[in-house]
Amino acid sequence: MPQPRTLFQKIWDSHVVHKNDDGTCVLYIDRHLVHEVTSPQAFEGLRMASRKVRRPDATLAVADHNVPTSDRSKGISDPESRLQIETLTKNCNEFGITLFDMNDKRQGIVHVVGPEQGLTQPGMTIVCGDSHTSTHGAFGALAFGIGTSEVEHVLATQTLLQKPAKNMRITVDGTLGAGVTAKDVVLAIIGTIGTAGGTGYVVEFAGSVIRDLSMEGRMTVCNMTIEGGARAGLIAPDETTFEYIKGRPYAPQGDDFEKAVSYWKNLASDDGATYDKEVTLKAADIAPQVTWGTSPEDALPITASVPDPANTNDPARKAAMERALSYMGLAAGQKLTDVKIDKVFIGSCTNGRIEDMRAVATIAKGRKVAEGVYAMIVPGSGLVKAQAEQEGLDKIFIEAGFDWREPGCSMCLAMNADRLEPGERCAATSNRNFEGRQGKGGRTHLMSPAMAAAAAVTGRLADVRELS
């Protein structure tokens, strides 16, 4: 009997091109996604060394971080953003890479586009110069973010130099309560393991809760694996996965699809495979979550109150909490549901997919965005936008007073014109609440799309269960 292996070990083993004596491997990369922010210096490096892109056919580029989410017909007014996007176009032309540019219907956030196009498939290795590449792990692909030097390495060689990570399994069993979504699950996980809890690990998510999630929900969970410090999250592929992929433009077609499915079915971790670390959570213990601080691990059930730094013994943690409370303008002991908000951001590669749009519409329908609150919805891609409009969701949003915008990263990181002003407080469905992330001095509370919609219509952090 061969040694039982985990999903991670199987993907790893099937991609090792060469192993050095010290264990460093040349790892083959099946798909490479490229965006405008982390690629210019990599292409420049290729040019300087007179190198080519080894597999343009395995590479897809999309402009997402800098694009305006308002009318694009007049181009981009910010000269630096424009230059970065023009540089991407120029590089893709020069090196023969397919690009979904700003005016392409398929354009969107790179981690929404890859799966939507069927480019993301089980058993693959996928990289992108972006930490949220972990998203693609939802399909049982080993997917992780890399830096620009590594982008250049992959462009030139279609490989990366890597050492195998340790393997952790996080099991969530039971049934989620009403109003509790994939986002709440992953925030609860990060709240449990901490933002460095996964450092050095690839995390496999398992258990009945994960099995029961849709592909969209699984992507939300894997997306935020990086917020728990792990570079990659993985979920074993199953019928839900195959069903999602089937028929998409870049998916295997015809006979190839059947062949691929039989290969994919063997990827799941073997019985008896072991992990370096195991963590378990019970679904029943997870309530709708919000973050109160400036680290994604600062997540609490919406029913809780702002914690008191005086209750912690670790001086570094205490200092970080005090700093977070002062930055966030919150007082210890304040009820989270009493915290008023100014803005709402619904979108990002965590929660900018069609299901997220539907979840927001469910809460928004027949309600109005609270007085004094500005709420924006930024679909994750042009195709998500089109689908939502086909389902009539846009009418519900607009009727309720939401601003319905063009796809892109938008206020997730505020590289375009969408941003918070100093002191403004935002209910956001994105993945990072770092200081200044959504605009200098801006205050971000992370939560699920339904919770963000509840915040929009009540004007404060709200428990979505009281609205449904």
């Binding site: 190198r51 930490s131 030097s149 030139a156 062949k259 943690r317």
Partner: protein
């Protein structure tokens, strides 16, 4: 890439945990298409007031630390985004070595690609070095014998992956190393395309 062998310098103490890459280099500086010139924006929001003037209390603005080549920081340094702009900004400022109890994976990796040595040490040892840094004492790092020294009394040894150590000591570009293995990559592709032809289907 610049070699790293030994380094002796004043070390700037940045006594904070979870210093994320958004903090190290905020997004408005990611619009550059170059690698250089980011040093003046390193830790921008901690370093400057809204009107662009310096915050005199911030460590990198203090005269004694302006030319520091070493940074000593708290747990989970470099967490967050994959932006290599973070090590580029550190390098452009003059930082060649960061010492912390732990680093986020992608940042840690990115450092080596840019000739920066990240050193992870147990927390009590980092605390000791933090104290030395705060006293304005020099810290000496030797990559070949894997030691960090502050004066005669404080000597710690650190772990490093042998391949990374070799590349850093010799300033090697790993793309070149991998390209020399092109025949093996060709062989891998030939085998993979026969087993999983859909990975090579032209769209």
């Amino acid at each position: 890439m610049q070699k790293f062998t030994t380094l002796k310098s004043i070390a700037a103490p940045l006594d904070m945990i979870n210093v994320d890459t958004d903090m190290i280099i905020p997004k408005q500086f990611l619009k550059t298409i170059q690698r250089t010139g980011l040093g003046k924006f390193l830790l921008n929001d901690l370093r400057y007031n809204d009107d662009g003037s310096e915050k005199p209390d911030f460590v990198l603005n203090k005269p004694e630390y302006r030319s520091a080549n070493i940074l000593v920081a708290g747990d989970n340094f470099g967490c967050g985004s994959s932006r290599e702009h973070a090590p580029w900004a550190l390098l452009d400022f003059g930082i060649r070595c960061v010492i912390a109890p732990s680093f986020a994976d992608i940042f840690y990796n990115n450092c080596f690609k840019n000739g920066i040595l990240p050193i992870a040490l147990p927390k009590d040892q980092v605390d000791a070095l933090m104290d030395k840094a705060k006293e304005g004492r020099e810290i000496a790092v030797d990559l070949s014998d894997q030691t960090v020294r502050a004066g005669n009394d404080v000597v710690f040894s650190f772990e490093i992956d042998p391949f990374r150590q070799h590349c850093l000591l010799n300033g090697l570009d790993d793309i070149g190393i991998t390209m020399a293995q092109a025949a093996e990559i060709d062989g891998f592709e030939a085998q993979q395309s026969s087993l999983q032809p859909w990975l090579y289907a032209k769209k």
